[in-house]
Symmetry: C2
Subunit: 379 residues, 2 copies
């Protein structure tokens, strides 16, 4: 079905909605597992379906470098390539060009850089970034942006906003906000930048609204600034985004971040945290993080999270999982990843449920009481 | 149900039978995936069930060193610990003590060695090896043996046979050939040693037959000797083993080895080859090995093995799998392992089928025509 987004229910600022694409529906708020290199690390597509993942993210920077966007298009696009038939969102490449590559040169034309894999030279332009994403085959694709780090002085932040706006316009001028390719629709989202400067965030937002996008992302946050500032800025932008368009807070975050983001009207999230932490043996539970390698779990017959319905918790003890990590067994990361992605997706299911009942505020208070961010329950 | 074994059909020397344990039935000939450290590397128990694995093997040496047999018994034994409810076979530890540990000292009492993990000192005796296996919880357990390497001079081989016989007797004197523990039955197999000396193989076999075991294994083969010699010795032993007891050829091997072993009346096999090779990107197909990393697969949309019904072949191309290995994604080993274990289990299914139809010889000729052992199809 063609792209659409509808907010069905609000609870304070929290929104429960439905986003439709040609690859199916996504109930929001939603967490998108990250499949950087056309694979969610340590999870099969079958695992992701069983976990309840509705949409996944893939990284344009990584995939253009290896195996290449032409190769993926020739093999039928990302959905066929990685055997994932639900919606996919690809990022613009902007964030990773600036965080991973070498010898970057930023001009009006775009960003020239060297691959972190083999040092070869690339130029990403606003047109090429959208074209690459069209080849990769994401249902939702992102405008090429200039994502600043932290700290960032005002002049650079202003330049980033100006370039991001001009690049967003160039992308939409060539492709339009929605276009069909290889038999299904692609939808372009704009990314609000502006670093930690409220006036630049407003400027960026207003300029993108003038262009007009089917959805908007908030970029360049949680890159080093203090957490209260992150939320002040995110809320400022979210409050001014059009109510009828999906809002995507890029690259965040912890379970608490997801709850805090939803409370500010965010609809879409992505983060490598559940998968990356799981591979190191740290998993999420209703009471906070749990470090599976800790000696306290040596003979613990309890599952990771009592009451969790995931494959890992239904079948394996903390003692077994600790053993797998101690022994360097790949099954440790696999089972831990399964749990933590299930935890994230289940958290969002609960959130959608309490928004539908207009009960989000009360639920959030209970969540904050039970969920500890301290180190004392690092098991 | 209590342990039993029955040969239902033979086709030349090949046998199709049914082995029963308190954890269920095993149709033979059977390949047992290796779960060294209480985990089949890169495979969940759910994967193994879907693949059609009927019984798995775990390694006593590894598990006694880490996490320890007491801990596993306290957590309900291997079946509960690793969430595998079908039969389990544990080896005696003898092979790995001699191949992995340091500072070994072999006496009448047993083998003293240092752990390859932390250098701590252990003594395995014929009694402790069975006791450890009883704690671990395998349905089928192995007598403690002295497994010689290659080359091995006659005197050492003779001493190994003598010790293996005396140790086998000591194990059975304490535990009996079958015993119940923690609510289900354990069955003890003897291991025929004798290195490459036909007379010592006979001596070992005759001494074990005098003791009397519910099943027999052929150990100490494929440790460096030439392949024709391996099969001469295996066949010599298999021909003299009692027809009504299961025959287990330890640690072998390639798909061709499985077919060759079945043709000599072997019922049970184990080998790390399918899982170890898969983690390195080499998988098995009906025409031989396939090296997924090879550049020829860069844009190959074909599955690993046309006509294979496994999850990997139903969903992923060689190009995608090559990409996963190139990118260092854990999903590569996972999907390759899935395929190769499925291939091994499916090969045994086919073999059981053609034995039941008394058509093994003809099937084997066809298999040998199609399956190439050469390097030319390492595609």
């Amino acid at each position: 079905m063609p792209f659409s987004f509808k907010v069905n229910k609000t609870s304070d600022k929290a929104r429960a909605g439905l986003l439709c694409t040609d690859h199916g529906e996504v109930r929001t708020p939603v967490f998108m597992p990250v499949g950087t290199q056309a694979a969610v690390k340590a999870a099969t597509p079958e695992n992701l379906e069983n976990i309840g993942a509705q949409i996944i993210l893939a990284n344009t920077y990584h995939l253009v470098l290896r195996p290449g966007s032409d190769l993926i298009e020739n093999l039928g696009g990302l959905h066929a390539f990685m055997s994932w038939n639900k919606p996919i969102l690809t990022d613009s490449g902007g964030f990773q060009v600036l965080s991973l590559s070498d010898l970057r040169k930023i001009t009006d034309e775009g960003i020239t850089f060297r691959s972190h894999i083999d040092g070869s030279l690339y130029l990403f332009t606003p047109e090429s970034a959208v074209e690459d994403q069209a080849k990769l085959g994401g249902d939702i694709i992102m405008s090429f942006d200039y994502c600043t780090g932290y700290p960032c002085d005002y002049d650079e932040a202003e330049r980033a906003v100006d370039l991001t706006t001009r690049w967003a316009k160039r992308g939409i001028d060539v492709f339009g906000p929605r276009f069909e390719r290889n038999g299904y629709e692609r939808v372009l989202f704009g990314i609000v930048q502006g670093s930690t400067y409220p006036d630049l965030r407003d400027k960026s937002l207003n300029e993108l609204l003038d262009i007009g996008f089917p959805g908007y992302a908030i970029g360049g946050l949680s890159v080093g600034e203090e957490h209260p500032q992150t939320w002040d800025l995110a809320e400022q932008v979210a409050d001014r985004l059009p109510a009828d368009r999906p809002r995507y807070l890029m690259g965040m975050g912890t379970p608490l971040d997801l709850v805090d983001g939803v409370s500010r009207g965010i609809d879409m999230f992505d983060c490598v945290m559940p998968t990356r932490n799981a591979r190191n043996g740290t998993v999420f539970t209703k009471t906070g993080k749990l470090v599976l390698k800790n000696a306290v779990h040596t003979s613990d017959s309890a599952p990771i999270d009592e009451g969790c319905g995931c494959y890992t918790c239904r079948n394996f003890s903390r003692a077994y999982l600790r053993h797998l990590f101690q022994a360097g067994e790949m099954l440790g990361p696999t089972l831990a990843t399964y749990h933590s992605l299930y935890y994230y997706c289940d958290l969002m299911r609960q959130i959608r449920h309490v928004i539908a009942r207009d009960d989000f505020r009360k639920w959030r208070e209970e969540f904050n009481t039970v969920y500890s961010t301290g180190a004392d329950n690092n098991g």
